[in-house]
Point group: C3
Chain length 330, copies 3
């Protein structure tokens, strides 16, 4: 498969971080979106596009006879199934667990010891953990590549990459896009990572739409405002005509300090066909899913509904990442 | 594998139903046994017989590089293992979950959204759900074939097909068989589906043996009595000399409205070597398993005990079904 | 693969036991380490060494198109992942469950019925069960080979084989080794099995180091003392200069009858860099893992730390065993 996937060597800018040493330019662990240079992000997106065109039997040669460990210390169907499908599509064998309840963690084993065990027989380790920093810690310990499939409220870099891939595929570019992030911007790790990732591109406008109590953390705005154009508002309608993308997130009643504010705002952030009708025809709606009631089911049938394709993009993006980590030497 | 499996085209009668549109005559979803014509049932049984003779390496080509999703919102070892073995024997990759506890369902995701996610990367979706009608709903939504592995108390069509395959294999026919259904006929979905399926064959006699409070629902008898000869009784011994098949089901103490009736009847429905001795030598005992104490372990060694072979037949029947759904276009 | 693995025929002494009938000299079930002759143990260790050298693609032919059932009625990540990796490395398909919670056991199904179901579609059955004797019972029932992956506090023979393999690999021999078993010798099934296994070798010295209340059961000492040199002590330091292997086990506070004894002894059995410094340079530390605090993390970086390699050895040993059971006729 040598010539097939674009190698990291040809990428221009390179990320450098303590936690993710490099090999021929590409990362040897996927821990945080901050470890990615723009060049590395684009490399992933290009390889994901190639994965979509590759015949199944050729794809199944890429990680043939490799073992991918899928360690979900915290359950997640969507992400786990997507990774396990990707790994198997590449021809890899998958071993692991879907739930920490069935692991030695119950007996008091440390994450470090679990990783030292699994690295002995897996070539790549995909893990989701309930603690922030768990993936970084695992990457420090393990001599095998670690792929962070979510660590607490902290990072979920493959979600961000599939979000970017979805935008690139739909609009042909990420530079110059006008993207609205709406809903709970305070607790959603998805939108946090997306802010950092978008700040690596050029002339992106981000509209931050949330109730007062669920605003984007100030430090994230400070860190990204040099390269993003940021517009803050509580109104979803005000700038709707300008959006290329409306990225919605789940907004939970429990997050509101008082019920009166919730009652006042709850319907403002629900995406209805009427709302969508006010946007430009090319606007697309994204959502990391699962949704509860942020988007009305009637919207699913509109051309604006991009969220199911977005979920589907998880597989080629993860195929690309796993294939790029093949043989990584740490 | 083209010439190998008998194609649906050659089948004569064809089922038509809203929920299961057709492709070349065969179903594109396996939702309910009612969707099957006699021709389609026979086609499945013929293909199952072929599966038993097919060398493993040839069988492993049939769904090579295909992905089968195995979604068990409600646990079931027997059915899940049998489906997952069948899928893998055909060369498919399997992804999924064994327990809804590890899914996004906990976060409030609808079945519809789960299906819309999974159809993006699986070629065929096998699902068990705790709600009646879940498989039908999934089939309406999904552009991929849905195989119902049980939806609440409603349907379990692959169980019925393996029951029919077991009878066909043992007796060489289904027409003219005399079949006793014994035990809990009120709540057992297995025996309900079997009634409908048997009514598609000719001159079948069904003996319905149950306590008064657990009788076969009247509407099922009404719907099938035009083509089945039905004999109702509370005595297992009365007609035992006539049975070709004694199909036993689990009978649970909790189902009885009063304990006195339970104490009176409980032993009447336990199958003992003494009872079997009263039957004709060719009689065979079937049971959907798991059994608790409906059949005494001593019966296992008698030639009449067909229930373990019956369970084993689940694999070729499911192999046949999955292979027949390959490439189904909805 | 015929010529590849050393066949049992060439092994000299042969074990005989009711529960494990033989085929060409090797066992047809792996139930208890007591069923193994020295010759059979050596055969497993030789084949494990071959497995480590075998290219992945050749290894993947050994059980190609075979099905291995992995039935964990009691959870265990380490053992399950190791077996499932081994089976898949050999090219087998794996079906099963990681947790009895998702099985028909909940509906009251007997172990016997579960085994009679699974033997219909699996070629080899690996099982862990919470009840002592479960594997033996399964082996009696099943016409397929059973591999005991732990049955309650009773047996865990593949752990013992990987322990022996680790010693053989490190020291080139097992005969004449001086092995300290330290910690909880009363409840640890690992150290019990190891005593029996070591007694099959020549001139092995075993140092039993434990608090008074957690001593090695007297009957095990009686049964093995004819062939082992046994030294009993409560002090880990006293003979430390003599050890080739220091085999530590988890020691739990709850096991102590009174807290005063626990407080007095707890630190005596924790392995620290200072303790290791007192041993001969060639001494190696083993531990069945998971550890809690028996070995200080600083020890991990010392050359004496053999426990992670030991865990890694689980895969080639299990590959060897599964391959040797291929086609076993019972």
């Amino acid at each position: 498969m040598k010539g097939l996937l674009k190698q990291a060597k040809s990428a221009k800018p390179k990320a450098h971080s303590e936690n993710s040493p490099k090999k021929g330019g590409f990362l040897t662990d996927i821990v945080s979106i901050s470890d990615f240079s723009r060049g590395n992000i684009e490399l992933v997106l290009e390889n994901a596009a190639k994965m979509e065109k590759l015949p199944r039997d050729r794809k199944a040669q890429i990680l043939k006879n490799f073992v991918v460990a899928s360690l979900f210390f915290e359950p997640s169907t969507r992400t786990r199934l997507s990774f396990e499908t990707a790994a198997q599509n590449l021809g890899a064998r998958v071993v692991g667990f879907a739930d920490a309840g069935v692991t030695s963690t119950k007996k008091g084993e440390t994450l470090s010891d679990t990783i030292k065990m699994v690295e002995n027989y897996a070539d790549i380790i995909v893990m989701r953990h309930f603690l922030e920093g768990a993936a970084k810690r695992a990457a420090e310990i393990s001599r095998r590549p670690i792929v962070n499939a979510g660590d607490g409220a902290n990072q979920h870099p493959t979600q961000t990459l599939l979000d970017l891939y979805t935008m690139k595929k739909e609009f042909g570019k990420i530079d110059r896009l006008r993207i609205c992030l709406a809903g709970d911007l305070k607790y959603g790790r998805t939108v946090h990572s997306l802010m950092y990732a978008l700040s690596k591109f050029r002339d992106v406008t981000v509209y931050l739409v949330s109730p007062k109590s669920l605003e984007m953390p100030r430090h994230i705005i400070e860190e990204t405002k040099h390269s993003l154009r940021i517009v803050e508002t509580q109104s979803l309608e005000k700038y709707i005509k300008e959006f290329d993308v409306l990225y919605a997130t789940r907004i939970q009643k429990e997050r509101f300090p008082d019920e009166i504010e919730y009652e006042k705002l709850k319907n403002v952030y629900i995406i209805t066909p009427e709302l969508v009708a006010k946007a430009r025809p090319g606007m697309r709606i994204m959502h990391p899913l699962p949704r509860v009631n942020e988007i009305e089911p009637e919207v699913d049938r509109m051309p604006a509904a991009l969220y199911f394709s977005q979920a589907a993009n998880g597989v080629p993006v993860r195929e690309a990442l796993l294939s790029m980590l093949k043989g990584a030497e740490k």
